[in-house]
């Protein structure tokens, strides 16, 4: 069964490569990136092995723990989880989860990240192999570590995805986000404090390594370190913990597989009636752009993918407030300055990314826009109106909270100016890029952490161009704001120039994006359609 599933995955990947040049380019880029990172890691590990630097073990434990954390976090934050083998497709076959589980685990390792992780883990074996006992510990740790990474990632994305896909999430979203954001805010504050207090890098690393070794992500990886240091009892305890963790993760995945094999159809939720929404309709008017805005506003409330976006927008102010209100050792005034400007910039980037995704989120439903002959400009403007209605209040709250917490009300105006330049400009750029590059997105109600069968590369290009352009557009405003701290003329020029840049980019983006759409609607429909593999 393992060989069959691995073979199936390889075949599916090969067929996908045949279908689109984008996938080939994407694979080549991923390979180049993977080879570079793995090469770096292997050279580093071997070098550490033979130089016998004192901090060597700490570096290795922290690095490998970070690798496992990355396996869990990166699919959640950015790229989604590769879902080439969708267990739901096996629902009609007479299979038990227990039979297919090993196959799914092993085939999860097939791919650039999996192979890279195996290579790095193997190289870490070389690092620890200073004696027989450490070598054995390293081998066991590496095997446990690699499998824990893969299975943990799968369990977390599937579990959270199920949670986010459900309608109930909408009500719980704010709560979950608040808790997560507060925790990361506190974590951020603690790390900053730790760095401020311990000037010695070695000490800091040792501390981090011992913390990392005690987190579930690092139990397996710290095994050889403890053995090498002669802490055999501790090592035995961690071996038990790591094995138990992997076993329970496997059980969890088995349970999820079982559910997917027996109920492959994604939940659709039950009979929700909606009001007539007359108020929304009256607000946006009856023009084409107004209609698009009204539809988008409803989607911001009803589509879990948009609700997740709003949650991401919300995380920011909470992290900001929590981390800024923690007691700190350094002078407060210095910290306020970067935070007060960074926060709106980050919000602007999130807004840009969301704008880029908009057409992909529509999926094939966008045919409605094709056949009704809606103008590209009306499409762009409508989406931006809805976005503004969601983001602008958030932006103002963010600005005022940041100023209130830092006490630097004098920075409110320049910070607002820079933020506006970035948000308006970023939205403009994204309206243009989003019109040109789309890739299929997971439909609403499906697991949002699933990468769709089709070009992740277009999405990556669109994302990076949007981020870079947003940053570039904010630069002049930032420069002026900085000069404005000392020069009156610059302080006066900041809001004017920022508004000018932001609105200018917005108008250019709307017109260029709209014109592009008018000429390329069929291409858009083809881009957002899932290619059948």
């Amino acid at each position: 069964m393992v060989a069959v599933l691995v073979g199936l995955k390889l075949r599916l990947l090969r067929n996908a490569l045949r279908q689109s040049v984008w996938r080939v380019v994407g694979l080549v880029l991923a390979l180049a990136y993977g080879v570079f990172l793995v090469g770096l890691a292997v050279v580093g590990l071997v070098a550490l092995r033979f130089t016998q630097v004192e901090v060597g073990p700490d570096v290795v434990v922290v690095g490998l723990t970070a690798l496992t954390v990355g396996w869990t976090l990166i699919p959640l934050l950015a790229f989604g989880m590769d879902d080439t083998l969708d267990p739901g497709r096996f629902a009609l076959l007479p299979l038990r989860a227990r039979e297919v589980l090993p196959g799914f685990v092993v085939s999860s390792l097939v791919g650039v990240p999996g192979v890279a992780t195996i290579l790095v883990a193997a190289a870490s074996g070389v690092f620890w192999a200073t004696g027989i006992l450490p070598a054995v510990a390293a081998s066991i740790g590496a095997v446990l570590g690699v499998f824990t990474s893969v299975v943990l990632a799968r369990v977390v994305t599937t579990g959270l995805g199920g949670l986010l896909g459900g309608r109930r999430f909408r009500d719980g979203a704010a709560g979950i986000v608040a808790i997560l954001a507060s925790m990361s805010g506190i974590g951020l504050g603690l790390v900053t404090q730790a760095i401020q207090r311990t000037p010695n890098m070695g000490e800091l690393l040792a501390g981090l390594a011992s913390i990392a070794g005690w987190t579930p992500f690092g139990w397996a990886w710290s095994l050889p370190a403890d053995v090498t240091a002669g802490r055999v009892g501790l090592a035995a305890a961690k071996l038990g913990l790591a094995a138990a963790l992997l076993a329970s993760l496997l059980r969890a995945w088995e349970a999820m597989l079982d559910r997917r094999l027996t109920s492959p159809i994604e939940a659709r939720g039950g009979g929700e009636r909606v009001g007539r929404g007359v108020r929304v309709d009256r607000l946006v008017g009856t023009t084409q752009a107004g209609a698009v805005a009204g539809r988008c506003l409803r989607y911001w409330r009803r589509d879990p993918r948009y609700v997740t976006s709003v949650a991401m927008f919300l995380i920011l102010p909470i992290v900001l407030v929590v981390s800024m209100s923690l007691p700190r050792s350094g002078p407060t005034g210095l910290d306020a300055l970067p935070v007060q400007f960074l926060a709106p910039l980050t919000l602007a980037m999130l807004v840009g990314l969301s704008t880029c995704q908009d057409l992909a989120y529509d999926g094939t439903a966008v045919w409605t826009h094709l056949t009704t002959g809606v103008t590209g400009r009306a499409d762009r403007v409508g989406r931006l109106i809805a976005l503004a209605a969601v983001v602008m209040p958030l932006f103002l709250v963010l600005e005022v909270t940041a100023a209130a917490v830092s006490g630097r009300w004098d920075l409110l105006l320049p910070s607002c100016s820079v933020g506006l330049a970035a948000i308006l400009g970023g939205a403009g750029v994204a309206s243009w890029i989003g019109a040109m590059l789309q890739s299929p997105a997971a439909p609403a109600g499906a697991n949002p952490f699933r990468t769709s069968n089709g070009g992740g590369l277009q999405a990556m290009i669109a994302t990076s161009v949007t981020l870079a352009a947003t940053g570039l557009l904010a630069l002049p405003a930032l420069g002026l704001a900085w000069a404005g701290l000392t020069q009156t003329w610059a302080a006066i020029a900041t809001p004017i120039a920022s508004l000018g840049i932001g609105l200018g980019a917005l108008v250019v983006g709307i017109n260029a994006g709209g014109a592009y759409l008018d000429g390329h609607w069929p291409q858009v429909l083809a881009n957002v359609s899932e290619k059948r593999a």
């Binding site: 929700e272 009001g275 209609a291 045919w367």
Partner: protein, 256 residues
């Protein structure tokens, strides 16, 4: 009298597969036109090109004399379209979706209200009008899609598999709507696999296979005195699998 829809030499290739191969077709104004053919014959591709959803590699489409690929907005204003296999904006309720499509088509808001009320009523969707389309059954989704295609009172209706997954009662309602639409001077083009349905409903039809028109014309011309089903098999040159193959299927309980 100009034709309602003219396809000239349409050609579309996906990779190495030629889905539509120099296909030409004329749909007379006021006809109820059926497009039939086996799976993979290129029906959906043809209709996608005709409605401006898919750009052809070669060829021309005229809707009421307007070139779809030279002046898309003018041509699209004349057509009502129901594609197959594409999603709707399904986080809207049926009523909201109708209003959305109406506004995008620049139908006066007052007209949208009266028309959508009548359409929902006629299609039996009134009680579900305020439910999200995502919760509709596939038959109800077809019906709300049809309502969206009708809201701007088009001159030409292009429907891809409009009767698929629709229950017999709603099927009869839809047939009634289409007949009335044609009686009022409109033209309907739809695709289907079901010969009986086409035979009963259409006055004109075309049989396509492998991206080409095998036969086209009025129902009588195409049938050539036969009933449509045997004539269809005849045109395609299909042999029904003979006895003697698949015999292992008869011992039903699994001995593989």
């Amino acid at each position: 009298m100009t034709d309602a829809l003219v396809l000239e030499q349409l050609t579309k290739t996906f990779g190495t597969k030629r889905a539509v191969d120099a296909l030409s077709l004329r749909v007379p104004r006021g006809s109820l036109f059926g497009l039939v053919g086996p799976n993979g014959a290129g029906k959906t591709t043809t209709l996608s090109i005709a409605t401006g959803l898919l750009r052809p590699d070669y060829g021309r489409v005229l809707v009421g004399g307007v070139d779809v690929w030279a002046d898309p907005p003018a041509a699209k204003a004349l057509m009502g379209v129901l594609p197959d296999g594409l999603r709707l904006f399904d986080r809207l309720s049926g009523r909201e979706l109708l209003r959305y499509v109406g506004l995008l088509r620049r139908v006066p808001p007052a007209d949208i209200d009266t028309r959508s009320g009548e359409l929902l009523d006629a299609l039996g969707l009134t009680s579900d009008a305020d439910n999200l389309v995502v919760d509709y059954s596939s038959g109800m989704t077809k019906k709300i899609g049809l309502a969206c295609a009708l809201i701007h009172a088009p001159a030409l209706l292009v429907l891809d598999e409009p009767f698929e997954a629709v229950d017999p009662l709603s099927g009869e309602v839809i047939r009634g709507i289409l007949r009335r639409f044609v009686a009022g001077g409109g033209t309907v083009v739809f695709s289907s696999h079901v010969m009986e349905l086409v035979e009963q409903l259409c006055d004109h039809l075309a049989v396509v296979a492998q991206g080409r028109v095998v036969a086209a014309g009025s129902l009588e011309e195409v049938r050539a005195g036969e009933s449509l089903q045997p004539r269809f098999l005849d045109l395609l040159g299909v042999a029904v699998p003979s006895e003697g193959v698949l015999t292992w299927l008869q011992s039903s309980s699994g001995s593989n």
